[in-house]
Amino acid sequence: MGDLFTTFNVVGALGITLLLTLFSALGALVIGTLVAIMRVSPVAFLNTVGAAFVNIVRNTPLTLIIVFCNIGFITNLGLSVSTDIARNNLVWAIVGLSIYHAAFVCESLRSGVNTVPTGQAEAARSIGLTFGQSLGAVLLPQAFRGAITPLGNTLIALTKNTTVATAIGVAEISGLMKEMIEFRSDLLIPIFLLVAFYFVLLTLPIGLVTTHLSTKLAVKR
């Protein structure tokens, strides 16, 4: 089994999967937070835009979004970020994953906002904080604490969903798995177990950490 590591770039693929996970998680968190702010803002137009984003993106298969990022953005619109094809695909896969999971981050955060009693926002307004200030200082910090568990769920889903990036040729681990099986079908079971173990290694701590944090950081009322 050791020769798998010498024949194939297993470590590189594992790295790409980790890279996809980390950067997409960051992107999804930023975009999702912005969309959540739009959805809770008092401006009707922003509410509509936010709701439309969530409903369109959440209900579109991830494969479609990832393939669109490749064909639509790179091939059709010529939006290349690098001359290196592999790098270009990687970046657009991260963009696709970020956008897709942003919809789920937004909804997790909204469920967190719902854990914050209206009195908190009223108190914030009554001391003269503007909408942005009460959002930043009172509403969102409490909403994030109330949304840790659903955010963890989204992060776990995202980690596993990075495998879809193989559809546009990103050299992550599930793509390599197919290749390895093709050439070394004698090692089918070990290859499966290796990849499965890697994902468990990535996702199990997320669940443990978020469960711990959700009790530790819970807002006591």
């Binding site: 009554s126 200082a137 006591k220």
Partner: protein, 272 residues
Amino acid sequence: MPQESTDPSTHAAVPEGDEPPLAAQSVFEPMVVMTGVNKHFGPLHVLRDIDLTIGRGEVVVVLGPSGSGKSTLCRAINRLETFETGTITVDGQALPEEGKALAQLRSDVGMVFQSFNLFAHKTILDNITLGPIKVRRKSKAEAEAKARELLDRVGVGEQANKFPAQLSGGQQQRVAIARSLAMEPKVMLFDEPTSALDPEMVNEVLDVMTELARSGMTMVVVTHEMGFARRAANRVVFMAEGEIVEVATPEEFFTHPKSTRAKDFLSKILTH
């Protein structure tokens, strides 16, 4: 809406008869002026043509049966509750509809809620310094010094580094009062400040409010505490079904209520 002069009793400057119990005003300067304010919740007319002028340094207690619109009246003064027609001015300034101007005005109007509403994720000290730092642009050191002074004033100086959930209801409400005072407001609104408290904690909050009234703060207090109304109010406003039915000195209101609705209300609350 034309500002017609209304029932003189609602504009009565210094209450007639007995001398006002606290903080007598030599000159009546209007601080909060409500003119022709109307509000509906669907078909329910919760505020009917409210005309009320509250003078600087005056303590006005709003009484009335539940559902009479007294909380809504209180909350309309800093626009936590919107209204359809009429105007409200605070220290001569009309209430802006929204945005930064409204936030600015709210910073001058303190509000104490029934359910305290301390920021649950912040320490007691941070609860109090948030407004002064973010809105008044004070330095952290300056805001904290002032906060500690206020916490001592309301008797919870020891609790500065705790979180709201670690305090009793009475302590939380006193912190909430300190949080409002930290903004150096021109007027303070109290929306049933003792209704959510265990009975043994009511007095510690009322004591702080009485002390505040004596210090000359302009106060609008929605409450069921008749003792506080007698002790600290310059005027009592009695509301029923969204209307101001009667405005009188506490003495006059409790001993000789004029309207049948006020008599009815008092008979229900004073018989046991």
